[in-house]
Symmetry: C2
């Protein structure tokens, strides 16, 4: 396997938009809509405020906008900040096996698109290729790389940003090979940071560094030409397992973007099946919290490890409480950011109900499955078993679900009319003469 980096570079360079199947283009629009909602929704989060306060005064010209905010920065810093906000809520998309694909890639190429007025078709094309690059590189070392301690969304995401930005910049094969190499030598991001603001710095850093790599390569800044596969290249240095054939497998037969998932609920995937079941039971039986005697959850054992907080005090703690998630789903009929706010966690109805929730592990349940049994004070018992939580590949969120998620996330940050326009632009992205219109639609006008 002598030319892994160059083979990937050649594919990205030679791919034409006509090669991309319609279903993949559609999935790109869905990912874009989901991402835009997440970025707007977290644009006033403390993590984003801190980052902007720290780097704002060093940023260059007004080249690219920050979603959900009024600031415009140079493209590199815009990519950094939008990359951070993409992931702050942990509500962005998830590749079936490895990575959050959009957060490192879209901030890089949307910033470029704003600056150079690339078309929506070019944006979609670059995005699909970026996701393909980062997922293939990531999967070539998965899961050992992740288990060793690398946050793969950052460490592999930088390849996606470099490939996608390089495609927009029109790099030739040699330059694209360098871009992937410059990306490789900036690859970073430790899982030890989970629980701190650095977790969302990782995709921001990947977007920033991948874009930097493509810009450097466009001026013929050189790197190793075997950066990924060399004996001391990225694959061997950052992982105990490296399978280069994953990267060079025939291109175009399937697309990694088609394995992308969108979260309907603003918490870890392992909580989704429980929320899903609770909302369905609530709606099917018009359940009133006061009429409930007991809520019995049966879940995958990992759920008991990850989300065992019984009496959360903050919204963030609520995301790690299966008890809160179930109670809030029954009280509010939803599991969005609002249901994981400090207010929701302290709501007396939720506090009262979550004391009635018990959870038991069942090793036969997968992490996307759950059983919920609700015993009512009048003696009735209702129950629901979920095998594939809403949002997983077997039960994807519908386009309407994605629109509703976007509306909930942008509410209070941009006008409803702007959100309508943002949604319209995302669905019609491939027809836009200037893809930067998406960013502008996501910035508050008043």
């Amino acid at each position: 396997m002598s030319e892994v980096t160059r083979t990937l570079a050649r594919y990205v360079v030679e791919s034409t938009y006509a090669d991309i199947p319609e279903a993949v283009r559609q999935e790109a629009a869905r990912a874009l809509l989901n991402w835009a909602g997440c970025a707007v929704g977290s644009s006033r989060h403390e993590t984003v405020e801190c980052a902007l306060a720290a780097i704002g005064e060093f940023a260059g010209g007004s080249q690219a906008g920050i979603l959900g905010r009024r600031e415009r920065l140079d493209i590199l810093n815009a990519a950094l900040i939008n990359g951070i906000s993409s992931h702050v809520l942990d509500y962005d998309d998830t590749h079936a096996r490895a990575i959050h694909p959009s957060a490192p890639v879209l901030p890089a190429i949307l910033a470029l698109a704003e600056w150079r007025q690339f078309s929506g078709e070019q944006l979609v094309h670059a995005f699909v290729l970026g996701v393909e690059a980062e997922c293939r590189v990531g999967l070539s070392v998965f899961p050992e790389h992740y288990e060793r301690g690398w946050h793969i969304t950052g460490s592999a995401g930088v390849f996606g940003a470099a490939a996608a930005a390089g495609k927009l910049l029109g790099l030739n094969e040699q330059q694209m090979t360098w871009a992937l190499g410059i990306a490789a030598t900036q690859s970073s991001g430790l899982r030890a940071m989970f629980g701190s603001m650095c977790k969302s710095l990782h995709p921001g850093h990947a977007a920033h560094n991948g874009l930097t790599a493509a810009l450097l390569a466009s001026k013929n800044f050189t790197s190793s030409e075997r950066a990924i596969e060399a004996p001391r290249g990225w694959g061997n240095v950052l992982s105990t397992k490296f399978d280069p054939a994953v990267i060079t497998a025939p291109f175009g037969e399937r697309y990694e973007l088609m394995s992308n998932m969108y979260k309907p609920f603003a918490c870890g995937l392992v909580v989704h099946a429980t929320i899903d079941a609770c909302i369905q039971l609530r709606n099917e039986h018009a359940l009133q919290p006061v009429a409930i005697a007991k809520v019995e959850l049966t879940v995958c054992p990992i759920v008991m490890e990850l989300t065992a907080i019984t009496d959360p005090k903050t919204g963030l703690e609520g995301k790690f409480s299966i008890f809160h998630a179930a109670a809030a789903a029954i009280v509010f009929g939803a599991g969005g950011e609002a249901e994981f706010s400090n207010t929701a966690v302290r709501d007396p109805r939720v506090v009262a109900l979550r004391k009635l929730v018990t959870a038991a592990p069942d090793p036969e349940l997968r992490r996307i499955a759950a059983r919920v049994t609700i015993r009512l004070t009048d003696g009735r018992v209702v129950s629901k078993r979920i095998d594939n939580a809403l949002g997983t590949l077997a039960r994807p969120m519908s386009d309407a679900d994605l629109e509703a998620k976007c509306r909930a996330l942008t509410d209070g940050i941009i006008d409803a009319s702007q959100t309508n326009e943002l949604i319209r632009l995302c669905w019609s992205v491939a027809a836009l003469p200037d893809a930067g219109a998406i960013v502008r639609a996501a910035m508050p006008t008043v």
Copy 2:
């Protein structure tokens, strides 16, 4: 070893300038002078031109200067570019065992000093602490980390830049702990890049990212508080060996800066003893190239591996030719950048003489030792044995040597009168009210 990162952070925060011994302060001035010459000397190198062409139009305000050039950029991009130019010639300082200490640290803190007018005393203090931090962190995983494939000047250098910049910014212990954590999660740089422009991108990236880490931490951007020592922290993820006691060993008993070496010759350390011997023989015996019949080198076996090019065509190839190095030293009596230029490599006198040079390995010679025997056409034989090449800790370059090196590097880039001023400012750095004066002195005025 529960608080490695915090212990290092606490030391950096609590250290006072009065704690730093006079000899260490003096060594800081020597390192500064050596570094400034290197940065000016490579400021028009293709690698620097490429990097500036790629990122210049995205840089922010005119906050900090680029040594040897007229451009002024925001402090983060200035740190990046000055970090690159520090290392382009591979002529910058070398810690006895691990790292090029100045290249990641000085660009970060000089940019800060220009922007915020920090004093020379503050600069020296921050520099000493930054070198201590990066060397301790680097040595805690050395040599396994390097052998695994990490370019330690980048991967450990980022800690030095963060610690030093954080010291100037006045971070408290908690913030400094975060700064080191944010540095850890940006740590990168692969040895696979050696031979490409990315090698010097690494200290530039380290300077940029370490400064970013300190700025983020100053706004309370959080990271893991056990970033270095956590089970999946930097030490365990990026190395197969990690000895945290190296980082927390008693502070102030010795300083890593005192193990710093400066290269008198513009090539790898392994070539130094040969050049040293040739120049001494030339000068002691007034040797004329045309009077030489044969030059016999006996060297450490590694020299035969690393510098075996017999007929170099370019200056860069000349750096990897022990034959060229010896011939040029005899012809010119020096081993600076000029003697490793394309012109020098193609000089007919040098070409003729290097055909008369032979080299043989001797496993008993260390890499900083060599024997040179020169047989003259009149039958005379002169020879010299070097055990410790000039520039090593046992035979450090004198202050006058460092001045001469700086003059040779800056010649043709800044005026001789400016170089005089630059040298004067470096020697008196600790007395400067505004350390940024050093950068301004190193920028062309006409």
